[in-house]
Amino acid sequence: MRWIYLYEDKTIRSKSAFVIEMNENKESFREWFRLDNAAIIFSLVSSSRIPALFRLSATLKEPINVNLLQTALNRTIVRFPYFRVNLRPGLFWYYLRKLKTFPRVEADSKYPCKELRVRKRGTFPLRVRAFKNRIAVEFHHSITDGTGGIIFLKTLVVEYLKLRGVEVSKIEGAFDISDEPNFEEYEDSYKKFYDKDLPSIKLPPKAFRLPYKLEKEGVYHVTTGIIPVKEFIKKAKEYNVTVTEFLVAIYLDSLQEIQFNLLKNKSKRKLKPIRVSIPINLRRIYPSKTMRNFSLFVTPGIDPRLGKFTFNEIVKEVYHFMRTELNDKYISQSIRQNVRAELNPILRIMPLFVKKLFGRLIYMSYGEKRYSGSLSNLGLVKLPSEIEEHIEDFQFLPGTNPTRKVSCGVVSFKDKMYINFGNVSDCKELEKTFFRKIVKMGIPVKVESN
């Protein structure tokens, strides 16, 4: 029945999109499925230095009961079969194989986002951790992005609270575990919205990077800034920009200040452009229900070689850049760029170990060296009010790597915004500059760290 429905509904789509959808549909019944476009690069580069993990956590009002959490997790993971998998090596690519086991709830660590050995047989690409009142889930990027992750965490929290005896009538924003998993959630949306006839993009030049010394492997400094959302929005409104745009402007301004301080007595020629990568949730632009990766980056930036930018100029720059780039035409072009690389016949016939060798090199030189940092805003997390009253906060720790060193993850819940910096270097200059700038604007900031 589903097939017939599919056929009638999708007649307007192109033939190739239809074929992919048929395959996706099959994939939901199959024991294994292919990685999506973004997952491929993470499956190749993932190592102890580049854990490719991000973490989402929810703090409840009461201490976590681990047994109940395990029960809730066992129930939840069944609703997310595309997360109940194991990364396996094939001859040419890694792929995901479904598991029959359940992930275990683990204890939390001082340093989150430490390497998860995803390639080990039977290892889940996610890690559920409990500490005091907090449930944290660390996701490997080979299975999903922040949007998929937050839905999983919300579902898990709702399930846990239900077991705790909280009455829930209607669930919004999270999945109902009694529903059947939808085959559309398996979809590789990058491939679906791939248009091979678009022209290619020129790569931007290398960007300024923080020069700090790396900490030992596994050390991950967290700095959390808690800010009242209302006051922040008020301030952003003064500049007539959105919250994300305003955050990006502050981020760029901080990076600019750091770069000028580093080069006090040296010539301007040593300066490099500053560019930060901002992940965009493509589900907002394209009609997609996928629970796997479906995000791309836009990269606003400034070029301090032209002179020191004032904050107003940076805000203007970011505003116009974001409004221009967040257009489905430009995004389609980026998708085409990424998917085309995956479909390249020469690359496809290379054995996996060759791909692994080059994957890291390409990731570093083509991807990472062109960005000075990243800021990822998941936006406001919403749940029904009877559930929200049991939850203290939601937090998002971004993944980072030795080239980028510091990344920023932002999420808002109720009346507070949680800005988390994940840092693998020994210097917190960026965090310091960033939060001091916000304090100077008259917005109170509360800072925590690990």
Binding site: T223, T224, K428, F435, V439, P444, E448
Partner: protein, 239 residues
């Protein structure tokens, strides 16, 4: 709630230092000590260590694999020859080659940290192999004495000198490249003497290697500051 006097940010009660700038947070007198609410555990969790084979186990395992994978072709060639020719004829060469490969791999696996045993063992294996190949050919030694033996000795001599010099110098860098160049120059010089008993073309190799080598030494001892190559490599490769 306490504040950091430098950053202006609010911190949790009981926190001693500002998480951003490490400035000590002033304690308000008269206010009773509140218990610190830690946001993360104090200890990092180590992943369950995967049981790893010890170095010795790994070496013995490698030896086992090498031995077995060489025994198979060894036996196959031997029996083929025996079946076809009713005696060992051409098979003596592949048999010798398999023995040679086994010996040269077994020595470093058995004596990994004994450089003298290693070098002497390998050298004797190479010499024995060459002598036997020469002897098996027509049951007497010909080119072994005139060419093979001196070439092996000269090669060993120069390579050991280069390695020894590279180990002994304190500051490593361009000087190692210079030693290698000197080695190449000296080796070609000696090779020509052994092969054609004259000195002609090898001078074209010797002169530039010596000149460039000296230039590299000059560069190294005049200009390089103390750079930790290991650290530099680590930084570049990010390992």
């Amino acid at each position: 709630m306490p504040y950091c006097s430098r950053c202006g940010v609010e911190v949790d009660a009981g926190v001693e230092k500002c998480p951003l700038c490490d400035t000590p947070i002033q304690k308000l007198e008269g206010v009773s000590e509140t218990r610190v609410t830690k946001k993360y555990p104090d200890e990092p969790i180590e992943e369950n260590p995967v049981r790893k084979r010890t170095d010795k186990e790994k070496r013995m395992f490698a030896l086992e694999i090498v031995s077995i994978s060489l025994t198979l072709p060894f036996l196959i060639t031997t029996f083929l020859d025996l079946i076809i020719n009713k005696s060992i004829t051409w098979a003596r060469f592949p048999m010798l080659a398999f023995l040679f490969i086994w010996g040269t791999t077994a020595i470093p696996l058995l004596f990994p940290k004994k450089p003298v045993v290693l070098v002497l063992g390998e050298v004797s294996f190479v010499m024995g192999f060459l002598a036997l190949v020469d002897y098996f050919d027509d049951w007497r030694l010909e080119w072994y004495v005139t060419y093979a033996l001196p070439i092996v000795i000269v090669t060993i001599l120069f390579s050991s000198l280069v390695v020894l010099a590279s180990i002994l110098v304190k500051k490593k860098g361009a000087n190692i490249a210079a030693f290698i160049l000197f080695g190449i120059g000296g080796l070609t010089f000696c090779l020509e003497i052994i092969i054609s008993r004259t000195i002609s073309w090898s001078l074209f190799v010797l002169t530039p290697t010596v000149v460039i080598g000296l230039f590299l030494l000059y560069l190294h001892y005049r200009f390089t500051k103390d750079i930790d190559i290991k650290e530099k490599l680590k930084e570049k490769l990010q390992i």
